[in-house]
Symmetry: C2
Subunit: 408 residues, 2 copies
Amino acid sequence: MVSVSRADCYVLDSEDPLRDMREEFSLPSGITYLLGNSLGALPRRTAAKVAHTVETEWGRDLGASWNTAGWWDLPQTTGDRLARLIGAGPGEVLAGDSTSTNIFKVMAAALPLRPGRRVIVSDLENFPTDRYVVEGVARALGSYEIRDIGSLDEALGDDVAAVLLSHVDYRTGALRDMDAVTARVHAAGALMIWDLCHSAGAVPVDLRAADADFAVGCTYKYLNGGPGAPAYLYVAERHQDAAYNVVSGWHGHADPFAFEPNYRPADGVRRFAAGSPPVLSYSALNASLDIWETVDMAQIRAKSVALTTLFIDLLDELCPDLTLVTPRDPAERGSQVSYRHQDGYPVMRALIDRGVVGDYRKPDIMRFGFAPLYVRYVDVYDAATALAEVLGKELWREERYQEQLTVT
Amino acid sequence: MVSVSRADCYVLDSEDPLRDMREEFSLPSGITYLLGNSLGALPRRTAAKVAHTVETEWGRDLGASWNTAGWWDLPQTTGDRLARLIGAGPGEVLAGDSTSTNIFKVMAAALPLRPGRRVIVSDLENFPTDRYVVEGVARALGSYEIRDIGSLDEALGDDVAAVLLSHVDYRTGALRDMDAVTARVHAAGALMIWDLCHSAGAVPVDLRAADADFAVGCTYKYLNGGPGAPAYLYVAERHQDAAYNVVSGWHGHADPFAFEPNYRPADGVRRFAAGSPPVLSYSALNASLDIWETVDMAQIRAKSVALTTLFIDLLDELCPDLTLVTPRDPAERGSQVSYRHQDGYPVMRALIDRGVVGDYRKPDIMRFGFAPLYVRYVDVYDAATALAEVLGKELWREERYQEQLTVT
């Protein structure tokens, strides 16, 4: 017995100001889905919107839809809708490409803004693609050093051009203080680039208040845009005239249909567009953003803190030997909770077999994501008690859970 | 009266070995669609496939679909399906991103393969994005000169690292001799990069026979993959070990789920992947590729030549004063026919009002694309006679056709 019962959780759900939001999503029955931090659930309205884009905009109206359905402007109009969720202004966010490609574009644009400084600071704990792409930018532009940080203060110096960090750590769920870190980076004369993949849609983000220079993020996690949905990039208005996008395709040209012989960047963030946007994937993303129009981010954060706190509290009681790697202080974490367990992989497989879907990250991390739009307090209860059962009865030791997955 | 009647065209359609293919497409009624060179028509099977991806793969199976539905491998599996259409081998083509981004990636990979050579050759007639992106690569990598060619022989020299040309010209429809040009470029010690946007799916392409080094192309024109569908890139097998993708995201890593601290490129063309693929857009493309599995490219070419020849012949009779800018020799053209007319814009608008959909490119080009999968001989007849009517009766001089579109 634990101090909070499943009946208590029902009461919490009934009092949840976001309780009706779950009805917006099509979730498979019998599943406790705690992986919205990896792939967000399908909004019920998405299928119809995508079908309309396929059958009417494409099939019936064909190329006219570049104008009439707004296809041409999707990177900007979608970007402006995302801006509200991350504290950016109109014209500061462009939706498109993948997070990886966007890191390349903004990093290659940022570095020349700090001539003479030849160091890029990243973090060994950063999501690997951030680190990998920084290597690619350094190789393309030449003569840049990549410095991994333990502590930010040690890494910063007057040789640092730009710092790229994740707002929320993909493994531990730890949340960085965006305002303080940005201020510290600026004090050292460097530019701050934030990766919002694991925070946008789960944690309030205010890029303008933090005075951030650039940012990137994806939309297929908490934002429910669909698998591989268009990512986004943010360029603070003050940098837009000087920031140059080296992936200088015609969609970023000042007058694309003049077919001028030379590249002339568009004003504003539009210059970071390259080629034709994958319209069907934007359609799904915009269906989800229709829901986000109605959401109060303060309610999202409050529920996120409540869900993650409840999960930690329950497991403190049920499984006191489990090693929590997520910060206990809610102010220092995003919307996921991670535990370390040497048999994390078979434990997670045993959990999934019992309908509780989280995931595993090498070498020993079990991740549980709590998307406040559709995760309920009873889901938290069910996940915690299922994990306690798997661990208490040593169910994960069954042979069928021992083989390795190639992709998790 | 012209020497070929509409009844004659009906006979030609009835004898067309590709006649049943039109039934695979959902074309709006009352429209003669001659813009498949810009946006291909919607395959009837696409809506159901996309709906399955949304509702079942995403909605029901969620993140498991990265494995079970093959999402993770979409860039490669889709690339292998495209390979057959462009004469590439398995493992030489990767689907993803936009043509513009792919030009960036392959050009940035090609140039270091010719150290000491600092010139990129392009063409003033090339589609602008090719030219714009080359500028961006030159700026990123530094110290590269861009040389525009009149004739290829004048431009080539021992300082040239790479040549980027379109296989079919987007305005005139002129077709380059891929074998001869590639051989000439190789004789000068340079690498050849082909842009196949306006040829793949309309003209047989054999990259291996031509010994091409790299190629890029889109899939939303003759290949009917949908608006902004994933583009593709080709890297000849012999270059794959040495070619480095500077947009080095985790999807191109040798072991992406090991989350290693440093980038280690995957073997083969996979290293050119960057971030998560926009799955819904791949789904639509793969629906179209199901149709292409059944198509004989020699029949496509034969019909393309017949359609374009008929169009030119009819307009020679009906509008002898029109200036043809597409080569008269079928061996020298792709699957579009372009005419120059000083009032090309209002003429095209008047045509579209009569249900004949082509497009206009500044300053004075009217383009008509003939997608052999679904354009009929009667469509050719209807388009030619409608154009003759508009020109003969000076219908385009009506005031309503004079205003300018922002996007065409």
